[in-house]
């Protein structure tokens, strides 16, 4: 099929465009942009399992870091508690204001002093423990005085020496001055 010659004005413009096109060289910028778009597209269209794996690795690393941070926190807390001797140590040796006081003696009575190994429970109370049992928290010697006038009192709470066997405990023992 034969086409008609274009309009002379249009023919002139086409020739000028052909000349410009012949003179123009490929742009390096354009190549870089195309390369980038192709790479981006290939990343977006990567298989789903690979993406999930990468995400899982990321979460695992974050969890490990969090666990490490918690562990370090617990370790520092335990060190601080040991340095301070625990909650009872602050009160160790302090006089209690409980009634009746130990030296109230209206009548002659007979008293016995014990030393009892104990640990703090989750409830915040002291609990007597078997000296041979394994333990994770600080152990204490509790000085207990019982009298046959019906009074039972805790006289003193002292942290046990953790470097000794059983923390230095051999069970309930008489108090030795």
């Amino acid at each position: 099929m034969k086409t008609q010659d274009p309009h002379p004005h249009l023919a002139q413009l086409l020739k000028q465009y052909a000349r410009d096109l012949a003179q123009s060289a490929p742009s390096t910028d354009l190549d870089a942009r195309i390369d980038h778009l192709v790479a981006e597209h290939s990343q977006m269209s990567a298989p789903a399992p690979l993406r999930r794996r990468r995400r899982a690795v990321f979460y695992a690393a974050a969890a490990a870091f969090a666990a490490l941070a918690i562990g370090v926190g617990i370790f520092i807390g335990m060190r601080l508690e040991n340095l301070r001797g625990g909650p009872a140590a602050a009160q160790a040796g302090a006089h209690d204001t409980l009634w009746p006081p130990a030296d109230l003696t209206m009548w002659p009575t007979d008293s016995v002093s014990f030393k009892i190994p104990a640990e703090y429970s989750a409830k915040g109370t002291l609990v007597a423990v078997d000296p041979d049992s394994k333990h994770g928290s600080t152990r204490y010697w509790i000085d207990v005085v019982v009298s046959n006038d019906g009074t039972f009192r805790i006289e003193q709470v002292v942290p046990a020496d953790p470097t000794q066997k059983n923390g230095g405990h051999d069970g309930v023992a008489p108090k030795v001055q």
Binding site: P101, D103, L104, N148, D149, G150, T151, R153, D161
Partner: protein
């Protein structure tokens, strides 16, 4: 020549008397401090009461009522024996001890005091050990009245005012004639952060023949009310085996426990 044997006899007699005097001195039982509050602490002093054997059960119950109405009941018992020579055996059944730092125990501790050999034995049934420690027997002046001459008890370093003991007369407690006395104490407002004064009281009834407290009541609004009563009282001589360490036990001297080095 007849004077030589006579001199020897005198010498032997003198030596024998000196030895006896020394032995008497060694076994002499001193008087207990009149008022422990006024004396230095003497933790190894053990009161010697002879010629008054008995066995009994002492029950101490403390009831603490919390602000929301809940009640905490703590109950500890002392089963006690004493023979005519003054040996004693005490079995402490301890469940818990209240206070600012409550202690949960659930254990039984048996203690034998033998003033004759001047030793205390604490029995550890789990490992068949009798932990021993020396005691110093002392006699209490057998006056059957409370010693009011020393004035009010002086709680060392405690921010409280204590009244002088008041005599409550005599009454029968479980068949025993008992003399009563009572003291009251107040922690002044502000002494321990309290807005109002805290009023407390202690009342004790002392068995005149038994020479032990047979009934007591202690009131402290912070810890509640403790009632103690001696029951199941028998005035017969207890079985002598109760005051001996069982044959299958090993005696071990008590040692000062290892405490945390600072």
């Amino acid at each position: 020549m007849a004077s030589r044997p006579r001199f020897s006899s005198l010498l032997v007699l003198f030596v024998a008397l000196a030895a006896r005097a020394h032995a008497d001195d060694a076994t002499a039982v001193p008087e207990c401090p009149a008022s422990p509050a006024a004396e230095q602490p003497t933790p190894n002093n053990v009161r010697l009461v002879t010629g008054s054997p008995y066995s009994a059960l002492g029950i101490s119950q403390t009831v603490t009522t919390l602000p929301d109405g809940h009640r905490i009941v703590r109950r500890n018992t002392i089963r006690q024996w004493r023979d005519s020579d003054g040996r004693t055996r005490s079995e402490f059944s301890l469940s818990s001890i209240g206070g600012t730092r409550p202690l949960e125990l659930n254990t039984t501790v048996t203690v034998i005091d033998d003033p004759e050999v001047r030793e205390r034995y604490l029995l550890q049934p789990a490992n068949k050990v009798a932990v021993t420690m020396p005691i110093v027997p002392c006699r209490v002046n057998a006056g059957l009245e409370p010693d009011l001459s020393v004035g009010p008890p002086r709680p060392a370093g405690l921010p409280m005012n204590v009244t002088a003991p008041v005599k409550l007369g005599e009454r029968k407690v479980n068949g025993e004639t008992a003399a009563g006395s009572r003291v009251e104490a107040t922690i002044p407002a502000g002494a321990i952060g309290n807005e109002q004064p805290i009023n407390m009281s202690a009342e004790q009834w002392y068995g005149k023949d038994l020479q032990v407290v047979v009934e007591a009541t202690y009131r402290d609004p912070r810890t509640g009310e403790t009632r103690y009563k001696l029951s199941d009282i028998h005035r017969t001589e207890p079985d002598a085996r109760l005051f001996r360490v069982p044959d299958n036990y090993t005696k071990q001297p008590a040692v000062a426990p290892a405490r945390k080095r600072r």
